[in-house]
Symmetry: C2
Subunit: 338 residues, 2 copies
DNA sequence: CTTGGCACTCAATGGTCACGAGTGCCAGAT
DNA sequence: ATCTGGCACTCGTGACCATTGAGTGCCAAG
C-alpha cells in the first residue's frame, strides 16, 4: 500500500494547499517541510499518489492539488481535531451566555460559528420530535378561535391558530388544557399522538368536535415540514472561496437558500460523532465543491439537533472540526441550563 | 432647464442600460427608440445631461451610464410604478394563503419577494411597539422559574425565562396573569409600562419582589434590541450583479448580515409611502452601489413593520416598486385575517 | 530505493497591433 | 436657433506572439 512517507507527503500537500490555495510542486514541498528526501523522490511519491487518485494536477506542468479522495484520507487518517485555545473557549462561553431566548441562542451560535471558522454556519433548531413537552397552552382569542402554544424543554416555542367548528363549551377549554398537560408534559413529542388519541371521548358530545380539531392541529405541528427549522449565517465568507467565483458561489448560495437541501444535508450526518462530507460525497450538485462538517448537539447525551459549517473542500479540517465540536458542546450546556 | 426631449433621452438611457448592463451610445439609442432625431443630436443632449450630472461615461470612448442622480430623476419624474399582472397577483395570494403562523408568513413573503424581483428581499417582523397585546401568559416551570409568553395581534410570539428571587405564593401567579391581562390586552405595547407601573403594590409584601422581577423582564422585552427582527432571502440573486463581482458582492453580503444596518436602512424609509434610496443615498458604505426599495405594511392603515428589496442601482425600478407594493398589500391582508 | 540531470510542457505575463464603438466639434442644411 | 452629417480622435478589447519559469517525467548513476 502507501508507505509512511507517502502519507506524509499527502499530508504536506493538503496543508500547503489549504494555506496557499495554489497547486503545490515537489520543490516547494521539500523546502517547506523537512521530509529528508529530495524533490525527485517526492515526485515519484506524488506520481504514486496520483495513480491512486489522492491528488491531481489541474494541468500538466502545474503542481498537485488534493482530490476529494485525498481529503477523505487526510481527514480519516492523517488529521486530528484541533482543540481550541483557552481564550477562544472563553470567548465562546461569554458570547453564548448572554442569550435571552432560543432564537437568540441559535442566532448567536450561528454568528459565532461563522466567525470562528470563517465559513458559512448552519444551525438547526432543536427538533420537536426529539424534545419533550414542557407545556401546552390553549388561549381562547375568540369564542371559536384558539391559539395553541407548544413549549419544549429546549425552550422552543411554536404557535398555531385553530379555527374551531363551534364555540367551546363552558370550562371545556380549561379542561382540555389541564387534561392535555397532565398527559403529555415531560413526555417525548413522538409519543404525543398515542397519548392524546382517546382524549376527545372523555368530553361531552358538544365539545368533541372542537377538541378533535385542536388536537388535529397539535399533531400537524409535529410533522416534518413545520418542525424542522434552521438558521444560517456567514454567507459573506463565501466570497473568500476562490478567484473563479460566480460559478462557484452561485449554486452554493442557491443550495443554502433551500432549507430542504440543508436539512437533508444535516440529516445525513451521524447523530453522535462528527461527520465530514467532502465534495462529491454531498448528494446535492451545487455543493460538489464544498465540504460539510456537522455534528449533533443536545442538552443531554442525546442529540436534539445538528449544527455545522459549509466551506470549500479546501478548508482547514482540523481547525474547523475543533470549532464545530466546541461550539456544539457549549450550546448543549446552554440548552441544559435553560 | 432640461427640455422634454432630453428627459426622454435620459429615460431611454436608463431603460437600455438596465436591460443590457452595458453603457449605451448615441447610435444604439436612436436605433432602439424612435426619438425622431439623429445620433448627433442625441450626442448633444447627452453632453448636456452629463454636464448636469445625470449620466457619466466610465471612460472616454464608451457609452453613457446613468448616475445615482440620473436614477433619482428617473424614479421621481420619469417612471410609474408598474402594476403586476393578474396571474402574478393571483400567484402571490395563493402562495401567501397557505401560511400557518407568523414565521411562515414572513418566510413565505421573503421568498416571494425575492423571486418576484429577482433580488434580495428583506422583511421585518411586525414591530412590538406598534402592535397591541393579544395575551400575556405566565407559566410556572419551577417554583421560582416563570416563562413569560407575549402574543401580539399580528401573531408574533415572544418568550422569556424569568428567574425569580423567591417562589411565588399560592395563586399569586394566576392572580398576576389575570390582572396583567385585564390591564394590557388590546392596548398598544408602548402603553404597557404605564399600565403596569403600580401593579406590584397590589400584591402581598411576599410576592412583590417576584412580581417586579417578572414585570421588569416584560418591559425589557419591549426595548429595541430584542424587539426588532427580520428575515432576508434571495441572496443568490446577488450573483447576477455584474461581472466585476467579488468586490461588489462582498460588502453587500456583509451589510446584509448585520441586522443593525438593515434595520437602520428600513427605519429610514417612510412609513406610509414607498421609499427608494439610490446608491450613495444609503448611509452604509457597503451599499453604495445598491438601491433599496422599501415600504411599510400593516394589517390596518398603519404600518406595523417594513419590507423591501436590495438590488443593484441598475435595477428595474418600476417593476420592483410594483412588486414591493403588491406584496406589502397582500401581507397586510393576511395579517389582518389572522 | 534515492538522487541529480535534462528535456519537455504549458499557464501566465506582457507587449504590440488592428479594430471599432463611441465621442466632440464644426460647418452647412433646415 | 436647431438639427445633421462628416471627420478626426480616444481608448478599451481581443488577437497574436514571444518569453519566462514552475513543474513534470524519465533515465542513468549512486
Amino acid at each position: 500500500m502507501l508507505s509512511e512517507r507517502r502519507l506524509e507527503v499527502l499530508r504536506a500537500i493538503v496543508q500547503d494547499y489549504v494555506g496557499t490555495e495554489e497547486p503545490v510542486g515537489s520543490k516547494a514541498l521539500t523546502e517547506r517541510h523537512k521530509l529528508g528526501v529530495s524533490p525527485a523522490t517526492v515526485r515519484n511519491d506524488m506520481a504514486a499518489l496520483e495513480d491512486e487518485g489522492f491528488i491531481a494536477q489541474p494541468h500538466t506542468s502545474a503542481g498537485r492539488i488534493p482530490t476529494d479522495k485525498g481529503y477523505r484520507l487526510f481527514v480519516d487518517k492523517l488529521a486530528d481535531v484541533k482543540p481550541l485555545s483557552t481564550p477562544e473557549r472563553r470567548a465562546i462561553q461569554n458570547f453564548l451566555d448572554g442569550a435571552v431566548d432560543l432564537d437568540d441562542v441559535v442566532g448567536r451560535t450561528v454568528r459565532l460559528l461563522a466567525q470562528l471558522t470563517r465559513q458559512v454556519a448552519v444551525v438547526q433548531y432543536p427538533s420537536l420530535t426529539r424534545s419533550t413537552v414542557r407545556h401546552v397552552e390553549l388561549l381562547a382569542l375568540a369564542p371559536a378561535r384558539v391559539m395553541l402554544v407548544l413549549i419544549t424543554d429546549t425552550g422552543r416555542v411554536e404557535q398555531r391558530m385553530v379555527d374551531c367548528p363551534a364555540p367551546f363549551g363552558e370550562n371545556a377549554l380549561a379542561d382540555l388544557r389541564a387534561r392535555l398537560n397532565s398527559r403529555v408534559v415531560g413526555r417525548r413529542f413522538t409519543d404525543v399522538p398515542q397519548l392524546v388519541q382517546d382524549l376527545p371521548e372523555s368530553f361531552d358530545q358538544d365539545d368533541r368536535g372542537t377538541v378533535s380539531t385542536v388536537l388535529a392541529t397539535l399533531l400537524e405541528t409535529l410533522v416534518e415540514e413545520t418542525e424542522e427549522r434552521l438558521m444560517i449565517g456567514g454567507t459573506a465568507n463565501l466570497t473568500r472561496f476562490g478567484h473563479d467565483f460566480p460559478l462557484t458561489i452561485r449554486p452554493v448560495l442557491e443550495a443554502l437558500e433551500e432549507q430542504v437541501v440543508l436539512l437533508k444535508l444535516l440529516g445525513e450526518a451521524k447523530d453522535s460523532e462528527m461527520t465530514v462530507r467532502i465534495g462529491h460525497e454531498n448528494a446535492h450538485e451545487g455543493l460538489n465543491s464544498t465540504s460539510v462538517v456537522a455534528v449533533g448537539y443536545g442538552s443531554g447525551d442525546e442529540a436534539v439537533a445538528k449544527l455545522g459549517v459549509v466551506g470549500p473542500t479546501r478548508m482547514d479540517y482540523p481547525g474547523t472540526m475543533g470549532a464545530v465540536r466546541a461550539v456544539a458542546r457549549y450550546v448543549g450546556q446552554i440548552l441544559a441550563e435553560s
